[in-house]
């Protein structure tokens, strides 16, 4: 993102890093509020899912950026939908064994 700018490019990645940190740290408090007990395998599944979703979004927009809009949209539609379905299933799994 913003590859031509020496100011916006690092700023963008700093903001992205902050948002990711907030998302992971925020989930801990969200789980506490909702009485979801987290253990190592739940965290592992969550990280795998979050990583997969992030790679899907990054991959799709990279394709769009490389003038392969159709491939990008197809990639996002296919894997994005897949990760949303997995996310719903994972959320139900996280709520088991409170």
């Amino acid at each position: 993102m913003f590859t031509d700018s020496h100011f916006l490019n690092p700023l963008f990645w700093i903001v992205m890093g902050v948002l990711y940190t907030l998302a992971v740290a925020g989930f801990r408090y969200y789980a506490q509020d909702k009485n979801i007990s987290m253990n190592w395998w739940k965290w592992l599944l969550l990280i795998i899912w979050f990583g997969g979703l992030s790679i899907t979004i990054a991959g799709a927009f990279t394709l769009i950026g490389e003038n392969e809009a159709r491939a990008g949209m197809l990639f996002l539609g296919l894997f994005g939908t897949f990760f949303i379905i997995l996310g719903v299933g994972l959320f139900r799994l996280l709520r088991i064994n409170k």
Partner: protein, 384 residues
Amino acid sequence: MNPRLKKRNILISVLVILLLVAASVAGTNRSSREKTDLVKRVTGYPPENLLAVNPFKYALIDSTGGTKGYIYTGEATGYNGPVTVITETDTQGIIVRVIPAEHNETPSFFSKIEKHRFLLRASRFTTDQYINGEYPETVSGATISSMAIANAIAQGVTAGEEIKRKRYGKINFGLTEVMVILLLTSGLMIKHIGNKRFKKVTYWSSLILSLVFLGFIYNIPLTLSRFASVSSGWLPNPANETYLYLLMGGSILALLITGRNVYCHTVCPFGAAQDLLGVVGGARPKRTKFLKYANVACQIAALTAFALALYYRNPSLTQYEVFGAFFRLTAATALFIILFIFILLALFMKRPYCKMMCPVGAFYSFVKLLRTNTLHVVKTIKSE
């Protein structure tokens, strides 16, 4: 049932039948009026250069008065009705060009034929090869449409040369047909299974088999356009689509005899996909006023599309299902968006697509309504 409701249902059934018959009759008349000389229009040759040998063959006359080639017109049934193909050859029977002159095939699927240069491959065969039953390899994902083009070329050439040929080839009975019979039988059996656990296992096995085989491997979910196509008199080729006769005939027969919609319940691959999504998301059955109205709107939409398809003699008008988008990733963008919405909904409620949009389900509910009303009328007459 309330007698007033019964009367209303009978009235609806009669009106729907009248509408469909009127659309069909008007469509047939309209189509015969609109028939023009395709060969002259599509090939671009002036009328003086074309000499009709028979209804399927034209001789191409050059400026000196000699024959420089031939043009054949043939027709075969595709996915959405007839596909008319014009084949131009030289005097040796070498095909110069193949033109799909008229068809109602789904654009997103037909574009695959052009993308895979099927017409070019079809033109590399000689007329003798078509006469002997040698066809080019079909396009994966557009098998029925590409097969229809090859069949239409063969039909045109054989009819043009006045060679007797069986209209349909040998009936093909393979794994697809076995799978369809198996799914229909298990759908019929489920209701009579007493053991709850075995019932559940049979139900889920049927759904998974249907999703994998009918959905992803063979990609043959029933669509309203197939019913519209058959209703317009264009029967699919039994040599290529024996399963379709079993699927359509079997499911309608089961509905008429038992009153149960076996197809939607256990055979439909997209219904199976929605059920599986429901398991992931913990979907629950929902009964709201909105769903009731949405269901009525879905039935009206299906009926309108079906009547329009009969009137315009174009079954592709009924193709607003999301099956192509889900199983083949081939559809218009709007259908992908609709599919995404229904996938999300299916995670939280049972079979939302079936309740709010599916034209095939609407068609089966109408057949069921017709059955109930006919039985009621017969019962009333008997009791009087």
